[in-house]
């Protein structure tokens, strides 16, 4: 067989979005992998603070004043004092792909001791198809050294386009506050050498710490909700975006992968602070999951934006009864789409692809 072709860099097609309130010294460690890419830094918190970015990186930086200036009244949909503000970066990007990473995430090592180029793996994941309609027991069949197993129908082997690549974390695992309190010393040391497609119809908890996506295919669904200052909830921004995104991907015939790459998550946030932010979410998610599992998007929703607006209507109608917050959130979802379309007027909408009937 011919040698494996090198993964394209996509350096002019991908933006790296980083939300932060502190200096970005962590980028030094990522320099070999990130330096060729354009960064979009979304500065949360006090806009008068100066964020120091290491030399040699090409970036644009937006603080709260910039967000207010650019969006005007629509800035109300962008969270303040929460990393959820990162989705502003997705909206202003002009690139096809986004990679977002938290500023306490560092380069991890694989079991052989080699530094992991997380961005390269995300690109591989995004450029190869997903297989949501039938589970392959050898995981991602498009990876080197893997393939479809016996019994996998040939008609399903072309796969569908991959919209999202969800990476994982070694060291500090992404646990909720109660679990952190019970297991403060647990570290994730297991390197699971797999990428897999999350099957159609299955929801998952999407973590925004190490996430890549195709902005053209699914960008408008990646709204990270209303969190932080003035809001009753925090640490559910990426969860919300993940449930909405998975629902819409399932409807549109797009795939979501999870697994490699790993990054090294260095900072454990305070579990008591986390508990205060999360506790409403812990109760609410018991209603939210059945809600998302039961949403049906009509056939007329042929673009991500239309799906999202329809979803906002159902959020208002069915979740509004749980708490007024969901009415505000439904409004914010609409505002987000309006703002997205204003800033991305000629945005390509992905066609609906129909998989085999279920």
């Amino acid at each position: 067989m011919a040698g494996t072709p090198a993964t394209p860099l996509l350096k002019d097609e991908l933006d790296i979005v980083i939300p932060t309130i502190r200096n970005l010294d962590f980028l030094e460690m990522w320099r070999p992998f990130f330096q060729q890419y354009h960064l979009i830094i979304v500065q949360d918190g006090d806009p008068s603070k100066t964020i120091r970015v290491p030399d040699g990186f090409d970036y644009e930086l937006y603080n709260r004043n910039d967000i207010n200036r650019i969006l005007g009244p629509k800035a109300s949909c962008i969270s303040f004092k929460d990393s959820a503000c990162r989705c502003f970066g997705y909206m202003v990007s002009k690139k096809k792909y986004i990679y977002t990473i938290d500023d306490d995430c560092f380069v991890a090592k694989d079991p052989s001791g080699k530094d992991i180029n997380a961005l390269e793996q995300h690109i591989k994941n995004l450029l190869t198809p997903s297989t949501p309609f039938f589970f392959n027991t050898l995981y991602d069949p498009y990876r080197d050294g893997a393939d479809f197993v016996r019994g996998y129908p040939f008609s399903l082997r072309e796969g569908v386009p991959t919209a999202v690549s969800h990476g994982l974390w070694l060291n500090i695992p992404d646990y909720d506050a109660p679990t952190q309190l019970v297991k403060p010393r647990e570290r994730n040391t297991r390197y699971v050498d797999a990428v897999m497609t999350i099957p159609k119809g299955t929801l998952f908890p999407m973590c925004g710490m190490n996430l890549g996506f195709n902005r053209e295919l699914i960008g408008p669904a990646m709204y990270f909700g209303l969190m932080g200052d003035g809001q009753p909830i925090g640490r559910y921004d990426d969860m919300w975006a993940g449930w909405c995104t998975k629902l819409i991907c399932d409807h549109m015939g797009l795939g979501i992968k999870t697994g490699l790459p790993y990054i090294w998550h260095s900072k454990a946030s305070n579990p008591f602070v986390n508990l205060k932010k999360e506790y409403k979410g812990i109760y609410w998610q018991e209603e939210l999951i059945p809600f998302f599992q039961s949403v049906i998007l009509p056939k007329e929703c042929t673009t991500v934006q239309k799906c999202y607006i329809e979803l906002s209507k159902q959020v208002r109608a069915k979740l509004g009864k749980i708490d007024e917050y969901f009415i505000k959130l439904a409004d914010a979802m609409v505002t987000w789409i309006e703002a997205w379309d204003e800033l991305n007027p000629s945005g390509a909408s992905a066609e609906v692809r129909n998989g085999p009937a279920k």
Partner: protein, 358 residues
């Protein structure tokens, strides 16, 4: 749901002997098998005497036993070749079964340590499955892992695991066309994870290395879909794929779980994919009908045991598949006969189950 304790005396190891000389096979597995009871079923087509080394607690069944027990009760069920092991499932009186092909030996993990496949399967069956929401850190009951942030608390107790599907290093279980195109391809990737296959997602179950809860899955594991030119190599069969789809659809309906991943076994090189390919494309062609069929199966609320579910599937096979190919009409008959046989001979340690709510 908490972890179940599974005693050695609750497990049968069932081996279908397609080769007469089991000396080296059983000696390789001896350290892992010696504390269990073994059921060896000789392929009724095999003419030579079985050679079995000393020192095992085992029971051997041959064609005459099969004829005596099954008699003329079914013309549709054929126990030859890979299907001989199902006779072992039928006559076992244990709650759990582990079955592995007789051309496999214990594997080594990525640290070079010998894998105790039996122990891993028992752990998989003893710990809950989590089919209703995907955990991105895979099996949350594994040491060093847990449920991630965003995983609903009400879903964390999980459901009973009915089937544990293991994997293979060296010769992976690919179909003949895939292996023929890549004759040198061997699976060397050790993926250190067990995960629950989500509810609603179907997959190709390989019979090479499986374990199951006999009460829950036994009635759905049977010699059903027999190819016209079925042979003595896995490339020339799809019978396990058919059963696996039955089991998954039934588990999804009754609220039980199916896990996949660890343990690995080492599958010896055997056979020639190109020769198998020349023989018959039948299995590959049939999958194109089989998979959409199972994706469309809906079972009624009245079906509360595995046997009930099987009978409903029989009716659906007769209605939707039988006309397409005589092999399906025979499969439906085999399924119906199997349920009668199971009720008469097989349900030793208790029949069926009531649905558990996830």
């Amino acid at each position: 749901m908490s972890q179940t304790n599974i005693g050695d005396d609750e497990v049968d190891i069932v081996i279908g002997a397609l080769h007469a000389d089991l000396t080296s096979f059983l000696n390789e597995w001896r350290p892992l098998f010696s504390r269990f009871h073994l059921i060896i079923v000789k392929d009724p087509d095999l003419k030579e005497e079985l050679k079995i080394p000393e020192g095992f607690n085992l029971h051997v069944y041959t064609k005459s036993d099969i004829d005596r027990v099954v008699g003329l009760s079914s013309t549709a069920i054929n126990f030859s070749g890979y299907s001989c092991r199902y006779f072992g499932y039928l006559v076992s009186r244990k709650k759990y079964i582990f079955s592995v092909d007789d051309d496999c030996i214990p594997a080594k993990d990525n640290k070079g340590l010998s894998v105790d496949a039996v122990d891993q399967h028992i752990t998989n069956l003893a710990t809950p499955a989590t089919p209703f929401f995907f955990n991105t850190l895979y099996d949350p009951f594994c040491k060093g892992a847990d449920f991630v942030r965003g995983y609903p608390f009400s879903l964390r107790s999980g459901v009973t695991c009915a089937l544990s599907c293991g994997l293979w290093l060296n010769l992976a279980d690919h179909d003949a066309p895939t292996q023929a195109l890549k004759p040198g391809h061997r699976n060397s990737r050790y993926v250190d994870a067990v995960l629950t296959v989500p509810a609603g997602a179907l997959m190709p179950v390989s019979g090479v290395n499986i374990a199951f809860n006999r009460e829950l899955a036994g009635p759905a594991l049977f010699p059903g879909l027999r190819l016209a030119a079925e042979g003595k190599l896995r490339w020339e069969t799809v019978e396990d794929i058919w059963c696996g789809l039955c089991v998954k659809v039934i588990c999804d309906h009754l609220g039980h779980g199916v896990k996949t991943g660890l343990p690995y076994v080492w599958r010896n090189d055997r056979g020639n994919a190109i020769e198998s390919l020349k023989k018959e494309w039948e299995g590959v062609k049939l999958m194109e009908e089989v998979v959409p069929f199972f994706q469309s199966v809906r079972l009624s609320q009245a079906a509360v045991t595995t046997e009930d579910c099987m009978l409903e599937i029989v009716a659906l096979v007769k209605e939707r598949l039988a006309a397409l190919d005589p092999v399906f009409a025979r499969a439906a008959q085999a399924m119906a006969d199997w349920i009668k046989l199971w009720k008469a001979v097989g349900s030793g340690s208790g029949s069926g189950s009531s649905p558990s709510n996830g």
